[in-house]
């Protein structure tokens, strides 16, 4: 008799923090107590709160355990499963046994992640039991391709790969493009550093992506499809391969699907890892075996894509939405979200926020709700400063814009983008010039080098930013930086260059004072840029213990043990901060500005 179900998160993060070891320990404790038949362990996809892993959810009562170690297994089995007393020290928040009561979960709206963390992604039976492949059946047997496209158009679904192009319109373009052979490509390259939404979907619910692709193929008139997936995602690749073979066995992929005469085959292609290969034309070049380099559009892939044929290319999350729309109807879907942005979006919360990890929220939720309700706000003692949203090409929005709704137009209007859904919360310890430089370093490094504005422009912007952070910037530099940013944005060939200036432009817009402080006052207000800070020993607090002098690598500190205060020779100081770390009395402060 099954009494309990343990949903053990087996996303990449929980696996690397030891989910498999926890599983082994649980299994042996269960066996030792004769509970092997009563408690079933289901390995699921990512549940979201990745930093707290390994996490598990116990049904039917819904107890949520975090940071479970193998040595906790015995206690969980004895105390919880046998005696019915949840192990309090493993609960996420004391006295909140059910995840539904935690705002992290309650403010979320799971559509594409509805199966992630719930079903075993390696068993197609579980997917089918959860309503999987019903939408494909309905589309193939009850709807014409045009009706499918109409439904997707009416739903208002827009591409989740970044640009937000209306999905139904794209499908229609491919359907109407002249040419017999057509292709469907799923973009699973996910090159944004820190992004793992697509990985979570592929690992946690691979069939949802396959089903979405099959419905799309039916709608546009394609017989074969490719999933272009990062080679760095071995678990996603394994689960996809497994899912494809299971679906083929049941006649849900391959020839004559569900005996309707419709055939669709899917193959995997591994991406080599360059960020730019996620750009659709570069991705297509890469599948064709050419250098992964974008080309000018038009012609768009819908007109001339893979091997010159009309090609539909959509993102993983876009495809994962499709079955829900076909199953529940366009009206149901378009009731979620805002006027122009429908449905939900998965975000990866990171940075100075209490709850980091993967979250799915309705479009239109405000940044404040996303960061403070779902994310739990910035940690104790820190102050919110900005949120960088949209991945490395996203913009930084200040506190005054926290009530902006999260949708494509609002974000773009304020200088940020939806991008793939990266959200990094910055607190008052961040220097915004340095933040802009950090992101630009990434995009400049990842520029493919094909077009002049992106190749040379991003590097030149970077050298100007380096001058500013090292205290050599002028106001003329600031003007050049702005001009260059506009050039790179408007004249670059692909989206990489066109969006790379966003971090610079948005910080110039909202945090210009900070740039000016670096330039005019030679000070980094946040105390981050080493050239523009100094250390000072507070004579009141110094006890003359000599710790700082011993820690200093350049001999910049002098003093006699026992006779405070010690002193820093600013001309020798390299502002490494070793003294501050060494002082047991907190007597050394870091201050903005070059010298004391």
């Amino acid at each position: 008799m099954r009494r309990l179900e343990v949903l053990l998160c087996s996303g990449t993060a929980c696996l690397s923090s030891g989910a498999q070891e926890v599983k082994k320990a649980l299994l042996s404790s269960l066996a030792a107590h004769g509970l092997a038949e009563e408690v079933r362990i289901v390995e699921t996809g990512c549940m979201g709160p990745c930093e707290l892993g390994p996490v598990m959810l116990i049904y039917p009562e819904g107890t949520f355990y975090i940071k479970v170690r193998p040595q906790d297994a015995e206690e969980i089995v004895v105390e919880h499963f046998l005696k019915g007393r949840p192990v309090a020290r493993l609960l996420w928040r004391e006295g909140a046994p059910s995840p539904q009561e935690l705002p992290f979960f309650s403010r979320q709206r799971k559509v594409v992640l509805s199966n992630c963390g719930v079903i075993d992604p390696e068993r197609i039976e579980e997917y089918i039991a959860a309503g999987g492949y019903e939408a494909l059946g309905r589309a193939l047997t009850e709807m014409s391709p045009e009706e499918v496209i109409e439904e997707i158009k009416r739903s208002g679904l827009r591409g989740r790969g970044g640009a937000g192009f209306p999905t139904g319109t794209k499908w229609e373009l491919v359907r109407k493009a002249p040419g017999g052979e057509k292709y469907v490509i799923c973009n699973a390259d996910e090159g944004d550093p820190g992004a793992f939404m697509d990985r979570a979907i592929l690992e946690g619910d691979p069939h949802a992506v396959l089903e979405g692709m099959a419905i799309a193929a039916y709608a546009v008139g394609a017989k074969s499809g490719y999933i272009y997936v990062r080679a760095e995602y071995p678990l996603a690749i394994r689960r996809l391969e497994e899912a494809i073979s299971q679906a083929r066995k049941l006649g849900l992929l391959g020839e004559d699907i569900l005996e309707t005469g419709f055939s669709f085959n899917v193959e995997l292609r591994m991406g080599a890892g360059a960020f730019v290969c996620g750009e659709e034309t570069a991705l297509i070049a890469s599948i064709e075996g050419r250098r992964g380099e974008p080309r000018p559009r038009p012609p768009y892939p819908a007109q001339s894509g893979l091997w010159g044929k009309p090609t539909l290319i959509n993102n993983v999350e876009t495809f994962a939405n499709v079955r829900h729309i076909i199953q529940n109807g366009a009206d149901w879907f378009s009731a979620i979200g805002t006027e122009t942005s429908k449905g939900t979006k998965v975000f990866a919360l990171a940075g100075q926020v209490r709850n980091t990890g993967l979250v799915e929220v309705p479009m239109g939720i405000t940044l404040r709700e996303l960061i403070f309700d779902v994310g739990g706000g910035v940690p104790e003692g820190r102050k919110f400063k900005a949120v960088q949203i949209g991945g490395p090409s996203g913009g930084c929005l200040p506190e005054g814009l926290l009530d902006v709704p999260v949708d494509y137009e609002s974000l773009r209007g304020h200088g940020a983008i939806m991008g793939s859904g990266g959200v990094i919360v910055l607190d008052d310890s961040a220097c915004m010039v340095n933040v802009a430089k950090f992101f630009l370093e990434f995009t400049a490094e990842e520029s493919c080098g094909k077009c002049t504005p992106c190749r040379v422009g991003t590097q030149t912007m970077l050298s100007i930013l380096n001058r500013i952070t090292s205290g050599e910037g002028t106001e003329e530099d600031l003007q050049r930086l702005e001009e260059l940013a506009q050039l790179v944005k408007s004249a670059s060939l692909c989206g990489l260059g066109q969006t790379a200036p966003n971090p610079v432009l948005s910080t110039l817009r909202y945090f210009r004072d900070e740039y000016l402080a670096h330039i005019r006052e030679g000070a980094c207000p946040a105390g981050v840029c080493p050239a523009l800070i100094h250390y000072r020993i507070d004579p009141e607090l110094c006890r003359g213990c000599d710790a700082c002098r011993r820690a200093c690598p350049t001999g910049a500190i002098s003093g006699t043990p026992g006779s405070p205060p010690y002193r820093i020779d600013q001309s020798l100081c390299i502002r490494c901060g070793a003294c501050q770390a060494a002082c047991p009395f907190g007597a050394i402060e870091r201050l903005p500005g070059r010298k004391g």
């Binding site: 038009p298 080098g449 260059l484 408007s490």
Partner: protein, 233 residues
């Protein structure tokens, strides 16, 4: 036939023709650098950017964008002029373009563009990458410090000569054109020594051996002359 408007003039184009081809046929000049007649368009230098008024002023490379019915193209707005000047500045700042000591001085497309577009000063820091010269080939010399990464040599070599000696390596600002995935050119097993790359190169990066300063004249039109004689596929 497609009818479009370029700078207020009504212009005809055959289906498949680009904005650039339609403009040239109508005698309207658009600056280009990476484009070379006879080779496939690459759309990478961005000097031929034009505005399409009825696409919200979207900027597209004239060399690589098919002409479309009803398009209204602007080729010479103030915005475009400034943008092209800045792109040129970036090209000059990227490597080592000191005309007075260059074999192509006086016969250089980059230099001509600077004059045409009125780019008389570079406001950005020069990068001077100090790349090493490849003088290993018996007939030619390659100086990557003068390369503008237009890729005309790469396309001439693969599309017209069929040797595929030249290719791109690296990425971003470290991109280089290299023979046989990393020289020396003189030891290339694929190079036929035909010299099409040298003729295609718009600047002094690829030159004939032994030419002195300002002596290198080129005939980039040979690429079109060769391809025009070929049967169309």
């Amino acid at each position: 036939m497609i009818t479009l408007e370029i700078d207020g003039r009504t212009v005809q184009a055959r289906p498949g023709q680009t904005i650039l081809e339609a403009a040239r046929a109508a005698g309207i000049r658009i600056p280009t650098l990476c484009y070379l007649e006879g080779l496939s368009p690459r759309g990478s230098c961005r000097l031929c950017l034009v505005e399409v008024a009825n696409w919200n002023g979207k900027l597209v490379p004239a060399c690589a964008t098919p002409a479309e019915e009803g398009m209204r193209v602007v080729t010479g707005s103030q915005r475009l002029k400034e943008l092209r000047r800045m792109v040129l500045e970036l090209l000059f700042a990227e490597r080592n373009h000191i005309c007075s000591i260059c074999v192509s001085n006086g016969h250089c497309e980059l230099q001509d563009l600077a004059c045409e577009l009125g780019m008389d000063a570079v406001r950005f820091p020069y990068r001077f990458p100090g790349l090493s010269l490849d003088a290993s080939h018996e007939k030619f010399v390659y100086d990557p410090n003068r390369c503008v990464l237009c890729g005309r040599c790469v396309r001439a070599c693969s599309e017209v000569e069929g040797a595929m000696t030249w290719g791109f390596a690296g990425r971003g600002v470290n991109t280089l054109v290299e023979p046989d995935l990393g020289g020396p050119w003189g030891e290339s097993e694929t190079c036929t020594g035909c010299g099409k790359c040298v003729q295609a190169c718009p600047v002094g990066a690829l030159a004939e051996r032994g030419v002195a300063t300002a002596e290198q004249e080129k005939r980039p039109q040979v690429l079109a002359e060769v391809t025009e004689r070929r049967p169309r596929v």
